[in-house]
Amino acid sequence: MLLLSPEIVRFESHAWDDVAALAVDRIPKRIVEEHSDLGPFATFADVPEQSVHIRVKRRITADDTDAPSLGDSGQLVFYTGRPTSDLARQRITITCTLISIRSEFPSGKPATRTLTFIATNAAGSDPVSSAPAPLNE
């Protein structure tokens, strides 16, 4: 999932309206690939261990001293679509932990700050959940 310029992104007490891009990456931590006596090609594959990483890239145009701390855990909430126009707009909720904050200063462009999270789910199921978002939420 990749969102460009989402309307607003919230993480616990923080609300960011300057997000340039938000990416949800699914990374295999363990891949199972099995072969049989029937031929040279794999007959079974699965991914029993996976990670979901979320990167939130903000455009920084003013002093910013209110960043969450590494290890902070909570709900990251954002939306697909625009609040007033898209009936298929979804609210995405991900329980996650902040694992890095990196700032960059590209020449001739606004500074950016990228926050990276790891998603978790105590039940071991997909930590990314979506639900229809009410209009104007």
């Binding site: 199972v32 099995e34 072969h35 049989s36 029937l38």
Partner: protein
Amino acid sequence: MPSSFNSTELFNSGPHRFHLGPCGEQLIEQTALDPTTPGRQAIGPLDGSVTVRGRLVAATDADLWSILESIQDQLTDPPTTADLIDSNAHTFSDMSFISFTPLAPFERGRTVSVPYEAIFTHFGGWK
């Protein structure tokens, strides 16, 4: 072709391979008989062995436990002795099912699966 043991398809829920064990003579150290005698002595043919390694695959934990129980049913004392037929229709006659070992925890992705090793022996060698 599905593999089978004792006319039962034990391993066909997932991929598996048949590994042949060594054949030839079994040796013992002479010192086991006489501490002052060096070298080894041939005492007879090695037991034949076939090891099946693979992965049991099921849709749910309960289904996987059901497959495991059907395998455990074939592990008896004394061992069940029957034909073991591989995935290419080769028959190993008079094989005794000795052990079944899960090699990892249950792994849960799209499926529930577990890798394993099953050991079969032909007592007295292949001939």
